[in-house]
């Protein structure tokens, strides 16, 4: 992407850092320290948030509505004033800088395109304010990048939702900000368009190499697009990491339920060895790797993802070295094509979800059939019993 490599951004005093790939991460990327936002009515939207975003990375803030993710984004943009804490970008403190003084651009949820300007002038707006030369060529290149070169002289109202979204992206990207903020930019698009825009934005981010900070409540979107996902709940980051790491090894029931789906089964810790913890789960002993144990208590929630659970008929050999849990009864079967979702009622009354890939190797089970469940111990995790097993359930759905 040559057009963005040339003509460096007019941002920050140490612009040289942009071309110099080295340098300390703390002086280069975005750093939030103890960031807090309390509203006059006493509501705390963000509580002492610490976050380090290295230059060139793609981070997603994921959480249900009201978790403080948008407030965090708006504080980075300068549209909200933090109550406490600091924001450092590319080595300079921008905590109290005005929005127009920050090398940050935002793609707004409703796009916020200027209705009285055509597409070309919308995209050129930031360049013109900064008195950049060569506006014409840069805007043309940017419109090419988002495939809107033929629409330059139309008004925003004449474009489709997907096209408006791309204009909003182009209008922000053209300024080569230190951080590009995306505030649920795909929320208004239909599912199919949203999926293709996710890949499109990811492609553009890799091409231009800018730092992207994406706010969303759609966990699939966060996992598809971002290198790092920060799961937020009630104003704090619950857990942060690569999507697969978060998904495989959640540290709280909120993350376990909000990111994907989890079966959480109450258990009593029997013994703690160096590398494995043994838990009694309603009479069945299961083991959990120590690296995936996130509680010191003598009781805990044994967590297992539905697709990691194997299902078989009574006495049938299951391809798992863990203990078999007998006595399940299938209460519901939903066939989804590539997989089948079973609800299995266990002897202690709890219903567990089981996702079975329709590979053809195992047969389908019918409602009322008696089954046995098992899983590989390395896939289980153990969470704090004091956390609600229902935390984060159903909050990640699109609204």
């Amino acid at each position: 992407m040559s057009l963005l490599a040339e003509n460096g951004p007019q941002n920050g005093p140490d612009n040289a850092a942009g071309t110099d790939a080295g340098g300390a991460a703390s002086a280069d990327g975005l750093r939030l320290a103890g960031l807090t936002k309390r509203y006059p009515n006493g509501f705390t939207a963000v509580q002492g948030l610490d976050l380090e975003v290295p230059r060139g990375s793609f981070i997603a803030l994921l959480g249900p509505s009201g978790c403080g993710k948008t407030t965090t984004l708006r504080m980075v943009a300068g549209l909200e004033r933090p109550t406490a804490g600091t924001i450092t970008l590319a080595g300079s403190d921008i905590t109290h800088a005005k929005p127009h003084q920050r090398p940050v651009n935002t793609v707004f949820q409703n796009y916020a395109l200027f209705p009285h300007l055509d597409i070309f002038e919308n995209v050129a707006f930031g360049l013109r304010r900064r008195k950049v030369k060569d506006v014409e060529a840069q805007v043309r290149d940017m419109l090419d990048l988002v495939e809107l070169d033929t629409q330059a002289r139309k008004r925003p109202a004449q474009l489709s939702g997907g096209q408006q979204q791309r204009v909003a992206l182009a209008r922000a990207l053209i300024n080569q900000p230190e951080v590009l903020l995306l505030d649920e930019p795909l929320g208004a698009l239909d599912l199919k368009l949203r999926r293709s825009m996710q890949l499109e934005i990811k492609r553009i981010q890799m091409e231009v190499g800018l730092t992207f900070m994406h706010v969303t409540h759609d966990q699939e979107e966060a996992m598809t697009m971002a290198d790092t996902v920060a799961v937020m709940n009630a104003g704090v980051i619950e857990q942060m990491g690569a999507p697969s790491e978060l998904y495989e090894n959640p540290r709280s029931t909120f993350v376990a339920n909000f990111l994907g789906q989890s079966n959480l089964i109450e258990g009593t810790v029997l013994s703690r060895a160096a590398d494995v913890v043994t838990v009694d789960m309603h009479g069945v002993q299961v083991s959990v790797p120590t690296a995936r144990v996130h509680t010191d208590g003598d009781r805990g929630w044994v967590g297992i993802r539905p697709e990691k659970v194997l299902i078989g008929g009574e006495g049938e050999a299951l391809d798992a070295p863990g203990n078999t849990i007998p006595g399940g009864v299938v209460t519901d079967v939903s066939f989804v094509g590539v997989s089948t979702l079973y609800q299995v009622r266990m002897p202690w009354g709890q219903e567990l979800a089981v996702f079975s890939q329709n590979t053809g190797r195992t047969r389908m089970f019918r409602t009322g059939e008696r089954v046995e469940l098992s899983w590989r111990p390395e896939y289980a995790f153990l969470l704090d019993i004091h956390q609600s097993a229902a935390a984060g359930v159903e909050q990640g759905d699109d609204d």
Partner: protein, 268 residues
């Protein structure tokens, strides 16, 4: 019964035409009368066609003097009322201050109060403050600004309230300083409302008789002239002025409409 069916099917159209005729007949009479060659001064009938009224508009110099006064007062009070009212509307929509909701309510009062009450209380105020010998241009101007102001505030306020405020955030986000944000984004978007308010102000001011009559002293505005002339016979030139005003306002509307159509066609 084909005729009855035709009428039934076109009932809405016929009613629409009837309503249009109802509103346009008086205007048509004004246009017609501007070409009238009356037999006597106080006879209101079409006696013959002439271009004399158009050729010699200022046959009665006092009419043109009154017209000039009305224009000067109209333009000046429009300018002042639009400026003040726009600023007030911004304050009412964009800033939170103590007494905002009362201000929002009180701004309706001049619109709701009967004109005769406003006019006479203004006169009392002017006389009480020792301006009784100086009634004229400036007292009319003050009165007009006062009653135009509420209309401007209400018009601009509704336009401003309907504006998406993330647009201003977006402008600030794209490096626009507060003043650039105002002139590049806010003002162009609110401008149609301000223009509408200005046109409304001018016609309210130009048209006003009751408040003006009470506070004008020895000055005569155009409506006062027409009112006075009515007793001895209105000169046909009044119809010429009416026709011109009508044509100009229609032209403004048509040009505006054509402009927006041309723009959307060029872009389609």
């Amino acid at each position: 019964m084909p005729a009855a069916r035709w009428v039934r099917e076109h009932l809405v159209l016929l009613l629409g035409l009837a309503v249009l005729a109802y509103t346009f007949v008086p205007i048509a009479v004004v246009v017609l009368m501007s070409f009238n060659d009356p037999a006597a001064r106080n006879v209101y009938s079409f006696d013959g066609f002439t271009l004399h009224n158009w050729a010699d508009i200022c046959e009665d110099p006092s009419m043109c003097k009154a017209l000039g006064l009305s224009f000067r007062i109209g333009l000046l009070s429009t300018l002042v009322a639009t400026t003040l009212g726009t600023l007030a509307a911004f304050a009412l929509v964009r800033h939170d201050f103590i007494g905002r909701s009362s201000a929002n309510l009180l701004i309706f009062l001049p619109m709701a109060a009967p004109e005769i009450v406003m006019g006479s209380s203004l006169l009392t105020l002017f006389v009480a403050s020792g301006a009784s010998g100086h009634l004229g241009f400036w007292t009319i101007f003050i009165a007009h600004v006062m009653f135009c102001l509420s209309f401007v505030v209400v018009t601009v306020r509704s336009r401003l309230a309907g504006m998406d405020d993330t647009l201003e955030q977006a402008a600030a986000d794209l490096y626009a300083t507060p003043s650039q944000t105002f002139w590049r984004v806010t003002f162009p978007l609110v401008f149609p409302g301000i223009l509408g308010a200005a046109l409304l102000s001018f016609s309210l001011s130009f048209d006003d008789f009751i408040v003006t009559n009470l506070n004008s002293g020895n000055s005569t505005t155009f409506p006062m002239y027409v009112w006075g002339a009515y007793r001895v016979g209105v000169p046909m030139q009044v119809n010429v002025i009416g026709t011109i005003m009508f044509v100009v306002s229609i032209a403004i509307v048509v040009i505006g409409e054509l402009n927006s159509r041309r723009r959307s066609r060029a872009l389609a």
